[in-house]
Symmetry: D2
Subunit: 437 residues, 4 copies
């Protein structure tokens, strides 16, 4: 975790205190269930919750000190709780294994992290949607291969992003369901020393589903799917960030990351406004993606478990969620405040002197009876002049001055072919598909 | 694609002929819709289908020869079709762009590939389930860290695999839905020259959903999610393959990949039966996984598209699906015919002279009034003898001969603690969760 | 391997016939050494080479047919050779294990592949160098963050690429040395049944070094390093390809992939010349890179070997080398024939009306006694006008018309600050460092 | 960075204070060179070093506070230095760009990190070598596919590891050289405002080589190679860790991670000693490896630089080096203190009742004139009995009791075939190759 790429709400999930709080809740809920089943005294569960109701501070240093002796984190925690709660605490954890606590805790953490990420996506979607409707019909040139192709609108670009991040949200919801399971099943998952109803109870209390069959641990294909999904979402962030970076480059300058009115460029050069936020997002996307493979390598644990997954998760659990949360927040800010320059878009669109419309003219000539070969030749000879003028000449004007062309098409008919509206007639249809409105 | 790791049904999807057949169907269905809309003559569509009804052979070499001239694969194909169909074929492809055909074709291919993979998973699940019920109560030692822990059953191991591959199936169904979309939207996705109803029609005919908003291409986050999902499934294959490899190692030998009764080992050494199929599956899993990252890198295409994704997909499209299909088929064979040795499992389980039951004895002593410290000491001193004998001594017998122990527990009570059934009492519960029966 | 991304010389290395030829040489050289040691008759070695001298065709189908029965590729090959050579062939392979042949063969293949790749790099370096000197002093704007920064020359861009691919070559030479080892050490590497001098002899004959200690196999950290190195080289390809893609985008158009004079754009739009070669290179780079991780996962084989690495290598051995060879060849062609537009570079450089020189003016004012704050204000107020004119106004002209400025700097002094040569005075130094001339 | 997987010496390199100290040295050395060239007053350089000689504490909080205002880390640092040094400090950084400082600092950090890692490898190599000679002739079974093959010695296993980590060291030395370069070349690498001799001077002082040509930044193929190399080294760690994990599993138990004599197992079960250190190393290897791909993705920065690499390096710079350092240290401890059980190795080796020698008997029978078919049958019928007895019977004894066998081979001749020494006769040769002694 790199502090500058983290936000407090997500980071808090991964702090020791938060983990210990979840551990307590797992243990206390389990003790409730054990008491209900008559395995332990009801007073034991009550003692735990009574103490918890005092809202005790979690003394992380004290627990760490005990772990330094016991070399076992869960035992250290239980010891510390017992020191605070007293005699009744000895009934905690009965029939359970450490992994029951650790893996269920990780499930709670990942579920909470998912909730934040889902909220992040909602905020991002809202920002994108607002800009989409704002620029629903703002013309801009569509580019394939970085080369001008045909007109689109800036709103359509936003609609694409909206659709993509809507998919991201659905994938994240599925990934959350995948990891939000509870296992309280003992040393090798047989419930030899603990009743499955304890698992049912803890799962219900924590908002998790029951893991149908665990070994000592919750199977890691669930986590692999989770981190792979984060990697795909990060890739979508990279896509939108790359779009902004392209739009901001000096020669294009159709949009810019926000800078405040009074803000100065980094030197005497007023043009030096760098898309550093979206460049940063590109790098962060690489990092989130890089968690996918070690998560997949974690799946093939030996037999009923080995502990090789644990160190990997200590890295990628916090890193991938914290970084993705930060990246989604940053991207939302970028989109929300993006400076959009419709005039420059129009200027770029016209840069080729109307060449983007040449195909329509070609078609119209054909439909007016000119042979395809002749039509191509007529358009081409005018288009070449425009091209060689670097956009200084206008294709429409040249065509209107070419008598071979006007023999087939009236000036009005020619002009009509240069109508941008022709390209945008289905924008409503697309918006209805994407936004449902 | 490596021929030895491929099966014909899946490979066929990726052969040129299959691709051209899909292209034709896309074009012909689109022509139908265009005819219905009055954009092209109905006779044009009819001519296409009439020719198709003759079940014409696809002359791949002829199409390639045209491509060598035109440098454009879709144009080459259209030319070849026109050469066969005649004049009416000129109405094909009107208002469409090459990517409409290419991307929709890829969607059809990935959907077909998914269908095969789903069927593969069904076959694998059936094999696993059969072995699970066959060995539902076959005792075997559960291992954490490769070290004996507590007893499980071989059926439980299979149940874990069943649950895991059931999740794999659900993920694959979701991934299939993600990629099975149709885009017929023109050069930059605006439908400038083609009515969206054409897309609706083609999608319906091909069993695809409509891509809500495309650029020149279908967005690649869909494909990234697809290949990431294959990577997770491959990781689950690696897990089960690793389990078999462990079980077959000389010192364990609780199960073996099948060899026919008459089959000889590779030399004079009859023990030399190597788990080569599951080792091979481990390697194949690495390959399928390796497609996930380039697929994610493909997402951030520039603007409305660049063509960097294309070469990546020419590799991973066939490779990942063909290899995963082969791997699932191979794993199904391994599980279906796995030689399982319950006696050896029992022998290994007993290897530690009953040490796996020591914890239950400890608990029983405590419940019989012995202090925890004393109980630990009593068990430990007998357990150490067993341990030092390398399993030659029996913990149960030693305990029955230790008067300090028998002062608290009768021989019958001691024997009862060595009951394997104690560990298996919840197997029914787990099976009900996993198999619903 | 995707045929369209392969070249014959490299592909040939990976064809069955080539592999069998290497196998023969390994076996025959080993038989020579065994004969020399008196282990087998000298006539045996002679018989092999006599047959080989007849330049026999390798009947791959026949060998495959034998393998279909024996289920063992090396045995199938030995059988086929014996069928051809006769009785004397039975002395072949004595004391050897299949991996001795397979791994040493892979070493020969990777060494040959490296030689081609090194030659590819030499060709690429030559092309880059030629363009570097051709445009050593061609001014072009340097960009950070995609935003104009300060002037560079196009030759410097090429010098960077030259230095980078020179490093690539050194790395590849090191990687070649890493994999070019010979192991003829028997079933578990102990030379139990074969004298180490056989290994010495075969290694010397094949131009390999002796593997100091092998297990059943050559250790796979060597191959991991090899494929990781290819991944880094591919990343350098991506960098140069990305540069070209940027330079070719419509608004920049400082360079273009070659198109023949008569060649037409893809439609009536003459501007539609897409950087498809470099986009393709971007995708190919992703694929070559993707081989690095499975190669690293191959390292941790179990004990003296498992066979999980084999399937991985059947994919990445050919794929990574063939694809990288193709990519290097393609990149060489792109650079060699790159259309470079110095006028457009100059036009873009001037796009900001001379703003790139503002920092030098600021410094000059300060040195002329103007306070830093005043200097900044003077430059800034003129720079803003240029900026708002979108480059239509000239900073130099405005400054020369600003009496507050001319009070400190003469028109000549101002003009001198707009001298591009100032930026290029160290180009010779850099070229001397990079090209040694 | 995960604190529990870090060691102080390596972590210190990445702490803010250490970074600021390197920054100062870069700036002060550069000022020296500028003074020498007459660009700035010599008093300026002297003032810097005079202050530095007072060994001032680096007030990270103060610098951070300035950065919160300036939004620029290097400017914040320079401001803080100026506040401390006074007026003369204004000559610092003249003609330099932030990246000159940042990238050269990273080079120093990676070089220092490399030095620690090289020392780590030396310590590991020493531990491995000691164990190798200690067990040079300790027999143990060699395994392919996890199945017993032929005898090796434990010393040979160590020799393999020694050879592998010796390669790791050479690779790391090369990787260090790759990243240890200095760039002081200004905003776009042209030295427009700074003399290249400044770079020469700083490089020499910091023990770096001069970057022949930089853009705004040092090219990232260098760093990609560095992190890829760390990934390969991590994979070698995984290999040795996996070997230990296998050796420690209950059924094998030929070696164990150290536990102190008085140490108790985790419960009443004395056998429960888990190879948690090597499992942990397996996970850590995954993490170090995962840095390779984002590092490769960092190479293709746009034009003269974008800042996408920066966030990636803030993660992987510390994480990969700290984790690898920790892992090497942990592995050294594991090997150094590894409990090795020669008796158990012998017992396992004999587990198959001498079947590992069957091939030699077969050969001897053939050489004694028995036809190959008969010899195979004779060995096989005895071997099968041994196999079916699960190692209870002895192949040697059975053969000596088989009159068909003894008709061809005397009992002494049979016994001689069961001599382990036969397999170890080249151990000296191999050790001489690996250790040079």
């Amino acid at each position: 975790m790199v502090p500058r790429y983290s936000r407090p709400e997500m980071s808090a999930i991964w702090e020791p205190e938060a983990r210990f709080r979840i551990w307590f809740e797992i243990e206390a809920h389990a003790t409730d269930a054990l008491a209900e089943l008559g395995v332990v005294p009801k007073a034991a569960a009550k003692a735990l919750w009574d103490w918890w109701a005092t809202n005790p501070a979690i003394d992380v240093a004290a627990i760490d000190a005990i772990e330094a002796v016991t070399k076992h984190d869960v035992i250290a925690f239980l010891t510390w709780v017992a020191d605070n709660v007293g005699e009744e605490a000895r009934f905690m954890h009965q029939g359970m294994t450490s992994s029951d606590v650790l893996d269920t805790c990780l499930a709670v953490q990942l579920a909470k992290a998912s909730d934040i990420l889902i909220a992040d996506l909602d905020a991002l979607l809202a920002a994108i949607k607002r800009r989409a409707f704002e620029h629903k019909l703002t013309p801009t040139i569509g580019r394939s291969h970085g080369i001008h192709a045909e007109p689109v609108t800036f709103g359509l670009k936003m609609a694409e992003a909206y659709a993509e991040f809507s998919r991201a949200k659905q994938r994240l919801i599925a990934a959350r369901a995948d990891v939000a399971t509870c296992a309280i099943s003992g040393a090798v998952g047989t419930f030899a020393n603990i009743d499955p109803r304890v698992e049912d109870h803890v799962a219900a209390k924590l908002g998790l589903t029951v893991e149908p069959v665990s070994t000592q641990v919750i199977p890691r294909d669930r986590h692999a799917m989770f981190f792979a999904t984060l990697g795909v979402i990060a890739s979508s962030i990279e896509r939108l960030a790359t779009e902004v970076r392209h739009l901001q480059r000096t020669e294009v300058l159709e949009a810019e990351e926000y800078f405040s009115p009074g803000q100065k460029g980094s030197s005497a050069m007023p043009h030096k406004r760098n898309p550093v936020l979206t460049e940063n997002l590109t790098g962060l996307a690489r990092m989130v993606r890089s968690a996918a493979l070690p998560a997949m390598e974690n799946v093939a644990l030996w037999h009923e478990r080995d502990i090789s997954h644990s160190s990997v998760e200590r890295f990628i659990g916090p890193d991938a969620t914290i970084t993705l949360d930060f990246a989604l927040g940053r991207l939302t800010g970028v989109i929300d405040k993006l400076l959009i320059y419709p005039e420059r878009m129009m200027k770029n669109l016209d840069k080729m002197g109307g060449l983007v419309h040449s195909q329509r003219v070609l078609l119209a000539l054909t439909q007016a009876g000119v042979s395809r070969e002749d039509a191509y030749r007529l358009v081409q000879r005018n288009a070449m002049k425009v091209w060689e003028s670097d956009g200084a000449l206008s294709l429409m004007e040249l065509l209107k001055g070419d008598t071979d062309v006007t023999a087939a098409l009236s000036p009005e008919a020619i002009e009509e072919k240069f109508d941008l509206g022709y390209h945008f007639k289905q924008v409503d249809t697309i918006f209805a598909r994407v936004f449902g409105e």
